[in-house]
């Protein structure tokens, strides 16, 4: 009797754990493909044959990437999976595709991730009802390595009232 009871509790715990894990896996959003630079993906075409060097250092390659994202605390291999460069690595060790990078961003930026899931963080396009609603990946607006939105040139100011003239 007791054995059955313990077995039952074990199953319940397992079931809950699986729910916890599957919750993450069930966060699916219809996003367009990530905006890779040309020819860079799949990363494994170069990295599969390379040695894994986990030492934190300044790289000789990928010099065009300047890390301005918690760079005092993290470096490349904290997010990019060392063994398989085609995947990103969550804190739990789970590997995810680049197409679901929002899960990775959401680990630190929980508030923003919650807003993004509700549809209020970031750009809105298309139809909000009766049609296709687009969700964009975080990286469609924010460069993952240097996420702060850059200043842009504003459009021209309106004409002053004195300057408003007629064509004729």
């Amino acid at each position: 009797m007791r054995k059955i009871f313990y077995y039952f509790i074990f199953l319940a715990i397992l079931g809950n754990l699986s729910l916890v894990f599957s919750k993450e896996i069930q966060d699916e959003f219809p996003v367009p493909p990530p905006p890779f630079s040309e020819g860079i993906y799949p990363c494994s075409q170069c990295h599969a044959s390379m040695e894994i060097n986990r030492k934190r250092r300044i790289l000789n390659e990928h010099t065009n990437i300047k890390l301005q994202h918690a760079e005092t605390m993290r470096w490349c291999l904290d997010c990019h999976n060392p063994e398989n460069r085609d995947k990103l690595r969550l804190y739990s060790g789970e590997l995810i595709d680049f197409g679901r990078s929002y899960l990775l961003c959401g680990e630190c930026h929980g508030n923003i991730y919650r807003d993004w899931k509700a549809g209020i963080h970031g750009k809105r396009q298309g139809y909000f009802s009766g049609g296709k609603r687009t969700y964009l990946l975080c990286v469609h607006c924010h460069n993952a390595h240097s996420p702060q939105i850059k200043p842009i040139k504003p459009e021209p100011p309106p004409l002053k009232p004195k300057e408003i003239r007629n064509a004729r």
Partner: protein, 424 residues
């Protein structure tokens, strides 16, 4: 008892005779009429591009949407309402010397209202859609919109001020007694109507919380007080001119009585101004911005400042002149006071009220509006139209009122002709 056909024939004859009155006159009369027609012509020529191209030919823009036209409109509605100041002493206080000039005063009010309506018409963007404002034919937003109220009330007042004088004049022409039961209630009704038109016009501005300069409870009383200063002042000057050029008899006593009533109105006008200034300057909220723009200048913009100070000083001097009987009851100082108060109230109530209401605009922008020459000429044209209408009305009304032009006279003229045709 004349038959209907006879009455129609007589009315037509009356109308043709009045035409002959209008088209004959002294050299100065012709010159005056031609001058006014020229100004009207120039005004009309300036109005045509506004119709064709759009209101962009004025200097009004999104920030300041009402300018010279509505300033003049506000002032003229006040002037029209002031004709009632003649009616009140004549009929309520039974002050004899004024009674005979009530008719002329009401015709003056009618010309004022016509000028005011013309100003609104030129300010409208789509005059071709004016019928949208006619009750029952268009879709009037009554009673919610104060402009709709104003259309109704102004037209009723115009009708009153045309019906009453014309009725009285026609009766005088035929030497008959006017039916007091018909006319006296109408005349007494014009007193609350005069107050109504100006209160409704004040409420047009008063009801807008977006414009804190106008959203003060004191606006309607200020309007009435300033109307009862400036309107009678114009009447006093006009009647002196009429006395000079025609046979109408207007006693000095009548003019002085009007001036005495004006003195009270001037005091109230100044008192209300002081109340406004205290409230704004002492409370010192950010809503002081418009008043500051008007009297001091705001962030370096100070176009209206010299104008308003000149206007206020003129009002003050006029009040002093009207306060003391020694200056009030002397025609020379009385006339100076009248001219000062006319100009002073025009500045204070016209540009000094409408334009600062829009500065700064609800988003804080400052656009200093000055009318351009087209707006000025159109405004002169409309003032000239009003003067011309008033001149023509006087040219008919005064001979009738003074008894020179009457049916008895006419009968005397045609009776030899009649006798001749009967004998043939």
């Amino acid at each position: 008892m004349h038959s209907f056909k006879e009455t129609v024939k007589e009315t037509w004859r009356f109308y043709r005779k009045t035409l002959s009155l209008v088209f004959t006159g002294s050299k100065e009369y012709y010159l005056w009429c031609i001058l006014l027609l020229c100004i009207m012509g120039i005004g009309f020529l300036c109005y045509l591009p506004q119709l064709q191209i759009g209101l962009i030919t004025t200097n009004m823009r999104d920030q300041v949407v009402w300018g010279l036209y509505i300033s003049n409109f506000t002032y003229l509605v006040g002037v029209a309402a002031a004709a009632v100041l003649l009616v009140v002493p004549a009929y309520i206080y039974q002050f004899g010397p004024i009674k005979e000039i009530v008719v002329l005063g009401e015709l003056f009010a009618a010309s004022s209202i016509i000028m005011a309506l013309l100003f609104v018409t030129v300010d409208l963007g789509r005059v071709d859609r004016f019928w949208h404002m006619i009750p029952l034919i268009g879709k009037m937003n009554f009673p919610s919109s104060l402009l709709a109220w104003d259309v109704v009330v102004l037209n009723i007042y115009l009708l009153l001020n045309l019906i009453i004088p014309i009725y009285l004049l026609v009766k005088t022409y035929y030497g008959k007694e006017p039916n007091k039961k018909f006319i006296v209630p109408l005349i007494l009704f014009s007193i609350p109507m005069a107050v109504t038109i100006h209160t409704v016009t004040a409420f047009i501005y008063n009801g807008l919380p977006a414009r804190p300069f106008w959203n003060a409870s004191i606006l309607a009383p200020r309007f009435l007080a300033s109307a009862f200063c400036s309107g009678p002042a114009i009447i006093i000057i006009v009647f002196q001119i009429l006395r000079e050029y025609t046979f109408i008899k207007i006693e000095d006593r009548a003019l002085f009585k009007i001036a005495e009533l004006m003195a009270y109105a001037m005091f109230l006008n100044l008192f209300f101004l002081i109340s406004e200034m205290f409230k704004e300057y002492y409370s010192n909220t950010i809503h002081i911005a418009s008043l500051k723009y008007l009297y001091e200048g705001l962030h370096g913009h100070n176009l209206l400042v010299p104008w308003i100070w000149v206007g206020t000083i003129m009002n003050l001097i006029a009040f002093i002149l009207f306060l003391f009987p020694v200056t009030r009851q002397r025609l020379s100082t009385l006339n100076i006071g009248c001219i000062l108060i006319i100009a002073g109230v025009w500045i204070e109530k016209g540009p000094g009220l409408i334009i600062p209401g829009f500065i700064p605009d609800p988003l804080g922008e400052i656009y200093e509006y000055i009318p351009n020459f087209r707006e000025l000429f159109i405004s002169f044209g409309i003032w000239a139209t009003g003067f011309l209408i008033f001149t023509l009305l006087m040219k008919v009304a005064i001979p009738i009122a003074s008894g020179e032009f009457s049916h008895i006279q006419y009968e005397r003229e045609i009776s030899p002709l009649k006798m001749k045709s009967e004998s043939n």
